[in-house]
C-alpha cells in the first residue's frame, strides 16, 4: 500500500504494518499553503540571487537550483514572512491573504 492511497477512509487491512511508511517525503502530498494569511511575492527583477532567503524558510518552499532561487512553492509556503525580512534588495514583499 502506497501512502497516497491511504486516507481516513482506508479499512484496517490497508493500514501499513506498524504504521511504517516505505517511501520518502510523502508530506509533499499535504498542502500547507492553505494555512497562509499573508503571501510572499517574488520580484525577480530585484533579486540578486544572494540566496539569503533560502535557508531561513521553515517550509523548504524556496527552491534553489544551480545557485539560483526559483518561484515560491505556494502549495506549502505558510506565509511567515522571514524571507521578506531578510531580503536586502526588496525582492520579496508580503501581501495580505492567500
Amino acid at each position: 500500500m502506497k501512502s497516497i492511497d491511504i486516507n481516513e477512509k482506508s479499512p484496517w487491512q490497508d493500514i501499513t504494518e506498524g504504521n511504517k511508511i516505505f517511501e520518502s517525503a510523502t508530506s509533499r502530498n499535504f498542502c500547507t499553503g492553505e494555512w497562509r494569511t499573508a503571501t510572499p511575492e517574488f520580484h525577480i527583477e530585484k533579486c540578486k540571487q544572494c540566496l539569503l532567503c533560502a535557508p531561513v524558510c521553515p517550509d523548504s518552499s524556496i527552491p534553489v537550483k544551480d545557485g539560483k532561487r526559483g518561484e515560491f512553492d505556494y502549495d506549502h509556503c505558510k506565509g511567515c514572512g522571514i524571507c521578506a525580512k531578510v531580503c536586502p534588495f526588496g525582492a520579496i514583499t508580503m501581501r495580505e491573504g492567500k
Binding site: 481516513e8 482506508s10 484496517w12 493500514i15 504494518e17 506498524g18 504504521n19 511508511i21
Partner: protein
C-alpha cells in the same frame, strides 16, 4: 545427537542466545536476570559470537535501543526482570505497535513495593495488554526450548510481534537441572538467517517508523495488531510442530497433565506446575482420584477456546495466580479462565487462588489441599468467594 548438560535457566537462555548469534543486545543488570547479559558479554569477550552488546544506562534505554536496532534491520533482544520491565513499560507498547520481532528474556520477579527479588508474575502479568506474545516455562529445558522458538515466531511474516520468554526467577533461572541442548547447526537451521523485508538501513527504500497517528488511523492500527496476535496462534503451533520434529519434545498452548479422565483440574503458569504434578501423582496413586493439571505455556495470545474445551467438563477447577491485580476480586489468570469457561457454558465450579507472591513457597501438600477443596466445592456446589489464598498467614 542432542547434547546432555547441566545448566541453570539463565545459562540455558544465554546458551540459546550464543547458538542463535543475534546482532544486537542492549541490556541493563537486574536480579535475577543479570546473569544472562553477563554470559553473553563473556561470549563476546571471547570472540565466540558476533553480537554487539550495548551497555545502556537503564532498562528504558535497553528496550529503546532494542527497538532502534530491530527497526534498523538487526535481530535484537534484551533480558530483564521486575522493575526493569516496569521501567520499559512505555517501550513494550512501542515495540509491539511498531511490529518489531524483538525477543525479551524475562526472568519473572515480583514488582517492587516492597522490594523483593523473588519469583512471581506481577511483572509480565502487568504487561499482558502490551501486545507482546508471552510464553512461560516450567523447567530449564522448557525455557531453552521456548527461547529457540521465539525468533521464528516473532519474525514470521504473518506475525511480526515481539515475544517475551518468561521463566520463574531463581526457581528456574538459578536452579541447575539436566538439560538436552540442540546441536549448533540444527539451531542455526531452525532459527534461520534474518532477512527483514523493510528496515531503516535498506538502501533500496527509506523507511519511516513511529508516526503520530490521529484518531482516523489509530483504531485501524490496533485492529491490524490484533490480527497479528490472532495469526500468532497458528504460527506458535507450526513452530512447535517443527520443533517436535527436530527434538521430539512436544509443545502447544498449554500442557495437559493427566487430564484424559480428570474431574478436578488446576490451571497454573510456570515452575509450580512441577510441584502440582508431584501432588497429582501422589493423589492418583494413593486415592485413585481423578485429578489433573493444565499448565499454560502461551498466555498471549490467550488460547481461550482451547482452554475452555480442555476444562469445560471438569467438576471443579482451581485457577492459580502468582500475581495480584488488585481488582479486589480475581487475579489475571483467574479472570480470563473464568471468562473462557462462561463463554463455553461450563458448569464447573471455579475458584481462584493467589499463591507464591514474592517467592513464597508452594508445596506438594498445598496442592493436595487444593484438590481436596475442589472435591468439596463440587459436592456442595459452593465456592466461598471468587478467590482465596494458598500459604497466607491469617488470624
Amino acid at each position: 545427537m542432542a547434547i546432555r548438560e547441566r545448566l541453570s535457566g539463565n545459562e540455558a537462555v544465554a546458551y540459546a542466545i550464543k547458538q542463535i548469534n543475534p546482532d544486537v543486545m542492549p541490556a541493563f543488570p537486574i536480579t535475577p536476570s543479570t546473569e544472562i547479559p553477563q554470559y553473553v558479554a563473556t561470549y563476546i569477550a571471547n570472540g565466540e559470537i558476533d553480537t554487539e552488546f550495548i551497555h545502556v544506562e537503564s532498562e528504558h534505554s535497553a528496550m529503546s535501543a532494542t527497538i532502534g536496532a530491530s527497526a534498523a534491520g538487526a535481530r535484537a533482544l534484551t533480558a530483564t526482570s521486575s522493575c526493569g520491565m516496569a521501567l520499559m513499560w512505555e517501550e513494550l507498547y512501542v515495540a509491539a505497535s511498531d511490529r518489531l520481532p524483538i525477543v525479551l528474556a524475562l526472568v519473572n520477579r515480583a514488582l517492587t513495593g516492597p522490594i523483593n527479588i523473588n519469583a512471581d508474575h506481577s511483572d509480565s502479568m502487568g504487561a499482558r495488554d502490551s501486545g507482546w506474545i508471552q510464553i512461560y516455562a516450567e523447567s530449564n529445558q522448557e525455557v531453552y526450548d521456548n527461547f529457540l522458538q521465539a525468533f521464528p515466531i516473532a519474525e514470521h511474516p504473518d506475525v511480526h510481534l515481539p515475544v517475551m520468554i518468561c521463566q520463574d526467577g531463581f526457581i528456574t533461572s538459578h536452579g541447575v537441572e539436566n538439560i538436552l541442548l540442540v546441536e549448533d547447526e540444527k539451531v542455526k537451521e531452525f532459527v534461520g538467517e534474518y532477512h527483514p523485508e523493510h528496515f531503516l538501513l535498506n538502501n533500496k527504500e527509506p523507511m519511516a517508523v513511529g508516526p503520530y497517528a490521529v484518531s482516523n488511523y489509530y483504531m485501524e492500527t490496533k485492529r491490524a495488531q490484533r490480527e497479528a496476535m490472532k495469526n500468532a496462534k497458528k504460527v506458535i503451533l507450526e513452530m512447535a510442530d517443527k520443533f517436535e520434529k527436530l527434538t521430539g519434545r512436544k509443545y502447544s498452548f498449554f500442557e495437559e497433565y493427566k487430564m484424559e479422565d480428570a474431574e478436578y483440574a488446576v490451571v497454573i503458569i510456570g515452575s509450580a506446575a512441577g510441584t502440582c504434578k508431584a501432588a497429582i501423582d501422589h493423589i492418583r496413586e494413593t486415592t485413585g482420584k481423578k485429578v489433573g493439571l493444565v499448565k499454560i505455556r502461551v498466555f498471549r495470545p490467550f488460547p481461550e477456546e482451547e482452554l475452555a474445551e480442555a476444562l469445560k467438563d471438569m467438576k471443579a477447577i482451581a485457577v492459580m495466580d502468582r500475581s495480584e491485580m488488585f481488582s479486589a476480586t480475581s487475579g489475571p489468570l483467574g479472570a480470563e479462565v473464568r471468562a473462557a469457561l462462561y463463554q463455553a457454558k461450563s458448569n464447573a465450579e471455579v475458584v481462584n487462588y493467589f499463591y507464591g507472591l514474592g517467592g513464597r513457597d508452594i508445596t506438594v501438600e498445598d496442592f493436595q489441599q487444593v484438590y481436596a477443596n475442589l472435591e468439596v466445592m463440587a459436592e456442595t456446589h459452593e465456592v466461598k468467594g471468587m478467590y482465596d489464598y494458598i500459604g497466607l498467614r491469617e488470624k
